[in-house]
Point group: D3
Chain length 72, copies 6
């Protein structure tokens, strides 16, 4: 799969499983492995411009500063 050359350090391949649209925001569910799902909130405009739909192969892209760490 393609890899964009961007400073954001984290890229996880997955498949879109659900899209929910609000007036200006949208949530997109991405299955990145059999048991792990991500929830993304982006603009509705981005969903439409990327023509996102269920079943699409996508990459979740995340900046290093946005990965918090939790430990028991």
């Amino acid at each position: 799969m393609f890899k964009i050359a961007i400073s954001a350090r984290n890229k996880l391949e997955g498949v879109v499983t659900k899209i929910e649209k609000g007036a200006v925001a949208s949530t997109v569910k991405i299955e990145i492995s059999g048991s792990t799902n991500l929830t993304s909130m982006i603009t509705k405009e981005a969903v439409e411009e990327l023509n996102l739909k269920e079943g699409d192969k996508v990459e979740a892209v995340i900046k290093a500063t946005e990965i918090m760490i939790s430990k028991e």
Copy 2:
């Protein structure tokens, strides 16, 4: 493993594989599956207060608004 009750929608279990400390910031590498690694940049203070070290089981925690989506 524990699950913290927090509004952030995304939690990925992993193991710390590398920690690099700067004067005030640090980067932490987390292996979340055999072939997938995350890079986190947090404060050095957080690394020390959580007593993070290689081999620790942790959760990467990410807000929904921080998951961007890229499509070919």
Copy 3:
């Protein structure tokens, strides 16, 4: 009150005073002292999964990189 072990450096105890739900996003008002209120925008899904309601004791959790500083 509980303290979650997370890299995010900032935790402010408060009480939920108002919740407003949109189709996918929600705003939550949190009173952290007699005269200070916070406004949080999270996913509607998070509001529902945490079963957030007015009067709930909560913690506002904020990463160090998200605290900007303004000076006169």
Copy 4:
């Protein structure tokens, strides 16, 4: 105290209690009440351009999307 007209919803008045500078990043501690402190990580350039020093009265400014909520 001054209030800047900015879309960021959250402003907390406080006093700078400690500044730690790295090569490009810095951490700034802000006491917002007798028992509550915030940790901010900003660029070293911002610390210098604002001429931040211990004892300064400042406002911590935080966007609504950056306030996570944790509940027991």
Copy 5:
């Protein structure tokens, strides 16, 4: 035009060209030069409190940690 004294490093002057309001979020289009437009998603409350409307002269304010870099 005014310059707010804030740690956020990036300020771009522009004119509001379009506002779209959802239940709790809103998108605001800002023209920063003849051919360049920005899209901002903020709370509806911020739009109303700043009394934002088409034609307003504004500044887009962005933290240094939010500027990603992409290279061919």
Copy 6:
């Protein structure tokens, strides 16, 4: 110039004018027009993996939720 297909709504073309590296973080200055410069703080690892250097043509990429609005 290339346009990456990513949900982030804002892309500004520019030229790298200065790079300053810390132990784990780096700041990158980008000139997006004759009089406007951006400051980005990313990981040192990203600077090295993208092989960023002064004079490089790049795109600054910014999510819609990271564009705050300030008004006089």
